[in-house]
């Protein structure tokens, strides 16, 4: 198969060829397809270009090493993104000594807003991103995994090393916090 043909293959087909035929040079196709998206995700959590670049290299190395364990139960991109979030959160847990229970204790949500009574259709994207910078990085990662990348809940749990029930409840709380902060800070938007 030539490179042109390989370039039209689906991600999962490329993974299968790499694993079954040991054509490791095809991995660059996956790198080319996803390195920018992975870099953007890393930067959004790590907030440092050099760290994000290092993270991209480490994440693709880790992904390559784990390729044989990719079962195809989800898309390759979902799997890659769950490795990406896991890497970034583990990095921050070590480097920044992230401690979610302590942070959550010190940042209790004053009020859980009943969303049926709120008009959430006029949310402004740039304002929402500012709110995302105010919440804990683990909550931000959870919301991005669930609502931006639409990862399945079992992968979200694995990424943060928490159970599926804990993932669901933390996503719920993160969302409640975002709604509360948005209303508090941008009240005039309602």
């Amino acid at each position: 198969m030539n490179n042109d043909h390989n370039g039209s293959l689906r991600d999962e087909e490329i993974v299968a060829i790499i694993v079954q035929e040991n054509k490791i040079d095809l991995f660059h196709i996956l790198y080319d397809r996803y390195s920018k998206k992975v870099r953007d995700k890393c930067y959004s959590l790590l907030k440092n270009k050099e760290l994000a670049e290092d993270a991209v290299q480490n994440i693709f190395e880790r992904t390559f090493e784990k390729l044989k364990s990719f079962k195809g139960n989800s898309s390759f991109s979902s799997w890659l993104y769950s490795i990406t979030y896991n890497y970034c959160i583990d990095f921050l847990r070590v480097k920044n000594k992230l401690h979610y229970p302590d942070w959550n204790n010190n940042n209790e949500i004053p009020e859980i807003i009943d969303e049926t009574e709120e008009d959430l259709t006029e949310i402004n994207y740039s304002r929402l991103m500012k709110i995302f910078e105010m919440i804990h990085p683990e909550e931000k990662a959870l919301l991005l995994m669930k609502y931006n990348d639409e990862l399945p809940i079992n992968q979200i749990g694995k990424s943060l090393r928490i159970s599926e029930s804990a993932a669901k409840m933390r996503i719920k709380r993160a969302r409640a916090r975002v709604v509360f902060l948005y209303r508090k800070i941008y009240a005039e938007a309602y």
Binding site: D90, R93, V94, K97, L98, Y100, P101, N105, I109, E111, I112, D114, E115, T116, L120, T121, I123, Y125, L128, L143, L144, K146, Y147, N148, E150, G157, K158, R161, I162, S163, S165, A166, K168, M169, K172, R173, R175, A176, V178
Partner: protein, 132 residues
């Protein structure tokens, strides 16, 4: 990122059968922000009640199968607290009420990047242990 706002705020939730809605309403009077999903034959509501996250599971007849309640790590009572703490720092606790029995799903951390999932009964016996 374009779909983020839509996915985050557009309320897409399953509509369960009337019997399940009734079963839920009978058990949870002060619930808000209810999100329904279905796995296999089980209907699941994720919601707030008195500012606490809860998950309730029902069969298709509206019979309540299980309630999961998020509780603060510091609120885990003895002797379950000591049993869990022997495995690491307590990071997350979910109380499970199933068939009139109480269990605790506890996540502890051994170090910043190693977390362990424990399942305890109300006698503080560890029934299951899994590295996450």
């Amino acid at each position: 990122m374009k779909s983020l706002i839509k996915n985050l705020f557009l309320r897409r939730t399953l509509k369960p059968p009337a019997a399940v809605i009734k079963g839920f309403s009978d058990s949870f009077h002060d619930s808000i922000n209810i999100e329904w999903s279905k796995t296999g034959k089980v209907y699941e509501a994720l919601f707030y009640e008195q500012e606490i996250e809860k998950i309730a599971r029902f069969d298709k007849k509206g019979i309540l199968l299980e309630i999961r309640t998020n509780i603060a790590p510091a609120s885990l009572a003895e002797p379950s607290r000591s049993a869990a703490f022997a495995n690491g720092e307590i990071m997350n606790v979910i109380e499970i009420n199933r068939e009139n029995k109480v269990f605790y799903e506890v996540i502890v951390r051994e170090n910043p990047v190693k977390r362990i999932l424990l399942l305890l009964n109300d006698q503080a016996e560890i029934l299951a242990r899994k590295v996450l």
